[in-house]
Subunit: 338 residues, 4 copies
């Protein structure tokens, strides 16, 4: 309650709380009075309702708003499988591939190399969300078919981004793991649609979103029926200009303490520059990430998107070797290359 | 070029630029060499291509990436009409109404009051993008029908948010102005869909998007065929906690210098608290905004969403009077109430 | 308390609170228990103490940490006078002058023009905080003497920045209003030193600081004995790149609601570009600022610092005319030029 | 140049550049003209000068503004020694101790434990920069003497923060490494003063400063004569609320690529919560940091400052063991405990 509130104000707020079906707990101090209200249902309506009552200074929510995604809803870790990969177990799972699907020859050049280096899934965008309408927008369905062919060729499950509710079914036919990109983290129509799909979902944090909002977006997917959600930190926007985004490495231990869902990291989009990708990858694994999604291109100077942040295959292979040592140093495992 | 590059590196970059069909301009200094490349086409591909060449330190783009939205593409201001309202002219146009459409009686209580106070459009959300899947999600089509009825009753054109490509046609049947919310500013599938629609579009800036990205999203809509785009600043995310978002008031003069499109301001979502809405509204008009979109509710303590930031009708009416004086102080006009 | 805490934990926390001399208020709900502690002394020590007790999930502070600066400590507004200017009254007070003191002829050219346009104080930096050690660092004591001479010549009180505790006395000999710059907002040794000085202080918000921290820094000065503090919003750092800083216009109404101290705005450093200074100045006055501090230079292209954001005198004069209309539109006053 | 500039504008800018003693390089394109100016001296003056010329759209600086701190000024890494510790070599050096010096018994309890765990320096604040004037401000000189005694007792060199130019000499008498805190990163008077001191300096990044500004502040110290500067990333301010600050882990590889100075990380202030400190520490070492500065307290619940983020000695000791494995995984070393 505001300083200088009257006893009548307190009675009136307490009465209103009772009328809504909750029990008010009044604590009076020399300078302030606090009225506790315990209950989790209709919390948003209650917040707005209480803020507008006479004499109320501030309404503070204590309970966390996510449920299905929270640690408290489940004992142990969720583990999510696709192909031979299991996210959320002892193994650190690496997804690798080019930013965009450009051609069959491109995929055929890259996929066997990342598989040999130890990657467990292949990535490649068929629908590309581009800031400019004049940039390359992806091959669309043709790209999806190429990805299917690559799975057949290599045995690696594939992941690709889905941009709109209408294409979810089509993408789910071809992809093993559906990616929701940073710009769509709060595209609620899309979240609900993938929530009705049987494919596991890789949900990227928006560049402008809090960890609580990321968990609420996971909650949308889970509340729609699909509990197979993998969270991905990929950098947030700050004032710093040397990196494209600021990788929020703290997100790894914080998310692991809040949720049972697997947490992976995308070092490539955060860095925006291949020179920093290896250091960020090592940091992510050391911090406890369950996996990484890394951009690899055999000819980055010819890439149609994000060439500057792509690793060449040989560099990726050397990184995988480093990561194996780090995983082992913290008691985890990583598949060896072949 | 990087310090310590060789002449061969310079020749090789210049050669690569020539091969792509551009003319390289080489300037050699004591410490650095700069190679200028002039041309606007394929700039994104070129960036990536050049960044990967040996000896290149940095690729800096000089030209702005938006075209149709830029001042240079059009003489004078775009003016966009709906009903009696004209955005982008001498008049400052006020849109007002509740955050969400809740019921017929609610709309019938609020709409005549905001009209009497001088508002030229009515607002109300039928589809609500909510962070939590457990919050009120809006009345959907029923809400759209109520909005249509209110237009008939008051003569005010209505604006409401459209959340997904599938519902664009339905929303366009009922609404005079289609609103793209902050969370969908980079939902490119949605932008392209409203770009094919004949209704004017109110495009809100994402809470962590740059002004350049806002203009690129306008460019998506315009490049799809719809040039009737109104831009809206509604606050960005920063570290400050007393306001819900930080209203970026500089966006008004900056956008007016970069684009011919009308620019309005949403003071309600930025403030998150009705106590600050009046000051922000006055600031926006004084800074040169072409209009405002303000939340008004007759019973904010019962609002199903954003009650805390809604003005009561009498307060809104007093604000309108203040705004008229400000508009007049800077040589603009505002409709008088009735 | 954490979910799953034991009754013993609750008793133990409540006991610890009692031992510290406070009364615990325990509210038990189905999912959580909340223990209220009322009291304002030793709050920081208590926070740390409680956070470390077994079973405690979170410690939330309800009372605001500033006292002398808070609205609750004083009825009405503080008004702070220097020369003919009164900050915090009905009049909107304008401070104007160059970023840096460069020469006697420069000051003699600018000062009479800003006085004629209606400015009530003259500004100019003698000690310049520069990001680079290789940039012009100001004329130092020589600059202070020039400022004193300008006061004699024009009758305008002068304000200039003080950078370190050692120079406070010297600056206070020459300046009527001591400016603490954004980079020194949390230079606590400096705050304490000006707190022992009799000159009023113009305290700028740090580019990285919250409004609460700004008020805590004012509290440092006030707690040291000097209650004459004027607060200044000058833009915060965000991801947006078209403006040098993002002017947080909401700071004006928020600070006016939290404190009795006068609040002014610096539109020049926020904009970083003279083209946007007029719009931001109008916005600040419309939002309720008690004054402005504006950079004016007669030859901005020759300025030794911040030339790009300086208004030419004729442009400043036109702006003053606009501001007078805005001030009048909101029931305030501004001195007319001569 | 702006679109639509005249040939006369180009000639006039080129002429002005020549007059300043530089050679202009003019590149004309269909839409724009670019005028290159090569040279590093007087760059800030030139920027301002050019921005104000008729027809100029934008002035972009290409060369980095730091010199002594840059990789280009020195072959190999700087290594900075104090006691047995060498920052910038193969070893990862750990600094540990309490946030604040509270008492002799406190230091005597903690110091032997962190030494035994493998820490090479002891930390503890004697002068504490506190947001509130009512918080514990440190023991001052008494604290410095206690630190000296601890060095004698354990043989560990000590580091402590210096807050103002006047106390630099006193602090340098007692401390082996002078710490400049985040809030003083741009306290230029202080930087110049420690620049004249013979002690190595630990320079923390400000919570809203760019990496370039951090390097410019190092440049201040180096340009004043002291080249022994260790840089420290400690988290920046963003919108995320679960962590106290967002640790910018990318700062490690970016700084290592820009400068020859050693780079360490403070995981404790970034996390604000001891539960996340271990993960951030591992990430920092994996990313390539040359060391860490970690808060350790034997009774965190009684700490007078920052108890929530302090590790208990046994936890610190376990962390050191983990870090040794990570250091070894990336080919570095860490002293074993005793």
């Amino acid at each position: 309650m505001k300083q200088g509130h009257s006893d009548k104000d307190v009675d009136s707020v307490a009465g209103a709380v009772s009328q809504k079906g909750f029990t008010p707990h009044v604590s009076r101090g020399a300078e302030r009075t606090i009225i506790g209200v315990i209950g989790n249902d209709r919390r948003y309506e209650l917040q707005s309702f209480l803020e507008n009552l006479e004499g109320v200074e501030n309404v503070i929510q204590i309970l966390k708003p996510f449920k299905l995604a929270s640690r408290e809803s489940r004992t142990g870790e969720s583990s999510i499988s696709t192909g031979e990969a299991v996210f959320g177990g002892k193994e650190v799972v690496i997804i690798a591939g080019p930013c965009a699907v450009e051609s069959r020859s491109q995929l055929e050049a890259i996929a066997p190399l990342v598989k040999r280096a130890g990657a467990k899934l292949f990535r490649g965008g068929a629908y590309k969300p581009r800031t400019s309408p004049y940039s390359f927008q992806g091959l669309g369905e043709e790209g999806l078919i190429l990805l299917s062919d690559i799975r057949k060729m290599t045995g690696l499950p594939v992941t690709t981004e889905v941009l709109s509710p209408e294409t979810v079914d089509l993408v789910a036919e071809h992809a093993d793991l559906l990616q929701i990109g940073a710009r769509n983290m709060q595209n609620f129509a899309l979240l609900q649609k993938v929530g009705k799909c049987r494919r596991p979902v890789l949900l990227k944090r928006g560049m402008m979103n809090t960890l609580e909002e990321l968990l609420m977006s996971a909650e949308y997917i889970m509340a729609s029926g699909n509990h197979q959600v993998i969270l991905c930190e990929r950098g947030i926007r700050t004032f710093e200009k040397y990196s494209r985004f600021t990788l929020d490495i703290s997100a790894v231990p914080i998310l692991k303490s809040l949720t049972h869902l697997p947490v992976i990291v995308d070092p490539s989009h955060a860095a925006g520059n291949w020179e920093y990708v290896s250091a960020l990858s090592r940091a992510a694994v050391a911090a406890g990430a369950d996996g990484l999604i890394v951009e690899v291109h055999h000819e980055p100077q010819k890439a149609l998107s994000d060439g500057a942040q792509s690793l060449k295959p040989e560099r990726f292979s050397a990184l995988m070797e480093e990561l194996r040592h780090i995983a082992s140093a913290i008691g985890r495992e990583m598949a060896s290359g072949t």
